[in-house]
Amino acid sequence: MAETVELATQTRKPHGSNEARRLRRKGLIPAVVYGHEEGTVAVTLAGEDLEKAIRHGARVVDLKSDGKVQKALIREVQWDHLGKELLHVDFARVAIDERVVLDVRVELRGIAPGVTAGGALDQPLHQLSIECLAISVPDHIRVNIGELQIGQSVHVRDLVLPEGVKAMVDADAIVVQVKAPVVEATAGGVPGAPGTETAEPEVIGRKVAAEEEAE
């Protein structure tokens, strides 16, 4: 469980994309705080602190504004098209004893003997949707794959979840498995080399010449 990070916020008055762009240029990140039947408040935060908190896996933060501190869950984070720069963050107000639903990273531990024997590790579930107390959100769900042989898999029901944490996905869903190695058929010929036949795709709606002749 990550330590709760305290972030200083300031209420922002002018809204809109132009103002948001101006703020980002100054190193601030526009954000919004909502929930608990209180009004939606547009705020700004120092980009550096927020980015650091997110990169360190913070999920619940203490938002400090005008001397008041309120707990908030990082509900949604918007990144730019390259996934490098933070654009906007949504905070949802939470109470200490409130149960929240969120996605947590699945972390694999150990080296599967099946992989050493030539199998391929396949992880269909990288994030697990869980329900837990807002103050005890786990950083990740650890899965030990130290005994996984070829053909074996770990299902959601096999996971050892921390106390008070409930998985919100199908218990039969596969988290990780070791598949038998697939022998890949070698492609015939070098692409684009002379003599390589380049077939054309079928054109929908076009009649084949033979059919036309028959008609």
């Binding site: 997110i54 098209h81 996934g83 590790l121 990288h126 697939v182 890949e184 795709p201 079928e202 929908i204």
Partner: protein, 139 residues
């Protein structure tokens, strides 16, 4: 054999535009690491195939490779020394339309140094500047 659609509605397509950045297909969704394009352009089916072969050699059956782009677009060309007119040329190759930020390839089941090495080799085969990205936030 390079990738190509099985059925198409029209054999030839117009050039289209490549303005803007990728708003979809710009996150690592299947594997742990991905190769992200930092430029836009057409990625030919041959280049995708070259990347696939390079990656399969690099991972040597250990991990899993995901190809995130598909050449849906036919690119036509007119033979050299042809007089003006006589219509649009014949399809020459198939290409994927790539916008800045798109994930081209992903690898799973490999440790980070191996994945880095694999995708760096694939990046040499790409006609764009690329960078390695991970699944982690901001990675």
């Amino acid at each position: 054999m390079p990738l190509m659609p099985k059925r198409v509605k029209f054999r030839k397509s117009q050039r289209g535009t490549l303005k803007g950045n990728a708003s979809r297909g710009n996150r690592v969704n299947f594997g742990e690491f991905g190769l992200q394009s930092l430029e836009s352009g057409w990625l030919s089916a041959e280049a995708i195939e070259a990347g696939r072969i390079t990656a399969s050699h690099a991972i040597r059956g250990e991990g899993r490779l995901y190809i995130r782009v598909f050449p849906h677009k036919s690119v036509t060309a007119i033979p050299a020394e042809t007089r003006m007119g006589k219509g649009k040329g014949e399809p020459e190759y198939w290409a994927a339309v790539v916008k800045t930020g798109m994930i081209l390839f992903e690898v799973a089941g490999l440790p980070e140094p191996a994945a880095r090495d694999c995708l760096a080799r694939v990046a040499y085969k790409m006609p764009f500047k690329c960078r390695l990205v991970s699944r982690k936030p901001g990675g």
